[in-house]
């Protein structure tokens, strides 16, 4: 296996060729914020939180899909990137209706954590207060579109891991919404196996267990990684 050595901020890293910059950064304990990326699922590079600067290139590159190159010099936390990340989080907060105080995921929400991480104490952009529905048609779970950041983790986990492909993205642009089946109530979609994987990987309080009240939702993406590992190694008893 050939190795690639590169520099990420102040760290020299050597990592298998073909790895992503994000993998290299994690190897070197450099934290790059991510949202749409989740280990175990395909990477879509949609949220743009993980953009980094690379010396010699004007273009910002998403760490989650960019392959390492020999001699690469990566900068993960320049003032420009910090402002971009804060703006991205502001765009997400103003696009939906994120009322943390009454949210099932309060305290355990990746969006909330990112907001803290990027120092977003208020939004410089105006809130849009969109009119979005809630789907409570499923016996076990609920989907509150107000809290959805359209990361498509649920779409991918259902398709790629569970193989049920219940979820998809409907409409386009600002009207995008996660849809179940062919834009049916979730509870009416027979393909749903009630496995709950989508709830588990959802970074916010958008997908939740019906019994959960404020602060009670604990997502557990680590279970996805354990599952993927077990499948890969065919070892089911840890």
């Amino acid at each position: 296996m050939s190795l690639c050595s590169l520099r990420i901020d102040d760290h020299e890293v050597a990592i298998a060729a073909g790895s992503t910059v994000l993998q290299a950064a994690r190897e070197a304990s450099v934290a790059i914020p991510t949202l749409c990326f989740l280990e175990g699922l395909s990477a879509v590079a949609a949220c743009r939180m993980c953009l980094v600067e690379v010396s010699g290139s004007d273009t910002l590159l998403p760490a989650c899909i960019t392959r390492v190159q020999e001699g690469m010099q990566v900068h993960t936390a320049t003032p420009r990137l910090q402002d971009i990340r804060r703006t991205l989080i502001e765009l997400l907060f103003t696009e939906g209706n994120h009322v943390c105080a009454i949210c099932v995921a309060n305290g355990h929400c990746e969006l909330q954590n990112l907001a803290v991480e990027v120092g977003m104490d208020h939004s410089r952009l105006p809130y849009r207060f969109p009119d979005r529905p809630v789907d409570l048609s499923h016996p076990l779970f609920g989907l509150d579109h107000n809290r959805c950041v359209l990361c498509t983790r649920c779409v991918r986990v259902c398709d790629e891991v569970e193989g049920a492909h219940v979820w998809d993205v409907g409409w386009r642009g600002e009207h995008c919404r996660i849809i179940a089946g062919l834009e049916e109530p979730w509870g009416a979609v027979e393909a749903c196996t009630h496995c709950g994987k989508c709830v588990e990987v959802c970074p916010t309080g958008a997908l939740f267990h019906r019994g959960d009240t404020t602060e009670e939702k604990h997502s557990d993406p680590a279970r996805l990684q354990a599952l993927m590992q077990a499948r890969q190694q065919q070892r089911w008893n840890p």
Binding site: A46, L60, L91
Partner: protein, 523 residues
Amino acid sequence: MKACLRVCSAASCRSRGAATLQHTLSEAIASAGLEHRLRVKEVGCLGPCSDGPLLAMDASPEAQTQLYGSIPAADAAQLAASLTQAAARHTLAQWCPAGGQRIDLNHPFFQLQRRLVLEHCGQIDPNSIEEALAAGAYRQLERVLQTNNPAAVIEQVQRSGLRGRGGAGYPTGLKWAAVAQSPGTDKLVVCNADEGDPGAFMDRTVLEGDPHTVLEGMAIAAHAVGASRGFIYVRAEYPLAIARLHTAIAAAHGQGWLGMAIAGSRFNFDVELRVGAGAYVCGEETALMQSIEGKRGMPRPRPPYPAEQGVFGLPTLINNVETFANLPALLRLGLESYGRGTKVFSLTGHVRRSGVIEVPMGTSLRRIVETMGGGAAAGRTIKAVQTGGPSGGCVPANQLDTPVDYESLKALGTIMGSGGMVVMDDTTNMVDIARFFMAFCREESCGKCVPCRAGTVQLDNLLEKLLGGRAAPGDLEQLERLCHMVKDTSLCGLGQGAPKPVLSTLRHFRDDYLALVPAETSR
């Protein structure tokens, strides 16, 4: 040789009744038994669309072609009567459609053009492969197949300097070489005919007027890169282009210019049409390929480039309509005569004469807009020229001497784009224009990535606020900051380009913006 009356049947003249006109005229000639004297045929765009409906009369080989515009299509019956009479009396050379206007073919609008891509457009009946063949269609393909040296063709395209006409201007030869080098024996060629830029109708003109040139270009490309299947992705809003492509593909199959063992060679090439569903983003190559596969048309990050992994994961060459249409001319003329080539523009907006023109690369904007297009209406002056559509920018009037080529336009903060050219006079508020394009991008964003999906909305709202006289201190700074952020962080060209009309107008027409910020808050 019998006389020929060419009736423009392209979308613009058609919308002014050209189809009925053509039908009435040819019926009248037929029922008078005069078809041996005069052929009334439909042709592609004759050029000055603003003067439509258009007719061109070739009375005899000696007589000069006469072009008539503003034909009162409603009076088709009377026109048919006078035309039949002229044909019967052998006075077609003197015939002049009552109510129409003679258009001077010596006008710079025609004289300053160099027609390579549009050579046969407006001349031949686009539904007739016989006419196309008589005009030279498929001859370069035949030659290429006889010589059978794909590498040499790629090298010639590379040395010609031909760049993609779809917007980004990527060197065509380089792209071909990459696809040719991609491993695998199953490769694809895709023609991008999605043409979604507001104010752009060059590709439609080419497809409606001379579909065989595009098919020939695709076949030449397929042979060069080692592909045996092709797709044309054309937007559903172009029903006439779609119909003509269907006819052309079937005819080319019938005559052996598509299909198996073309022209007796071992080269096979099939073309399928795919009709888009009206999303602008599906013109973006990765989204287009998804759409061809039957999936939701959303861009994906590159690499992998289509040359490595395109439609169905196969190495794919994707080029624009006009790029493909350049190849027969390029191969026929050779590098020296081809020179820097040409660019087709659809000239619209506040000019006296609008339509589709093809000019030598490097022609100045002034020449196009003032000399050819006749400049602004009486009492008005030109304020700016918009190029490059929603990813482009505005060239201010004092820079009109800029030559249209990729670098010069880029230096001015706009792009060549695909060829839409919208002229704006001094009644135009540039903030309105910027808002128009931003609203367009907001509407057309696919919604995949955050900066484009949510950023275009914030930008559009900000512009709306400015225009509504509700600007607050700092709004202009916020507008500019967010523009740069969306441009630098979006996933595909739509989001990356969306802020450009704003940034360009902020650069050249800042006063239009400052006028909207209340005096005490403007700095």
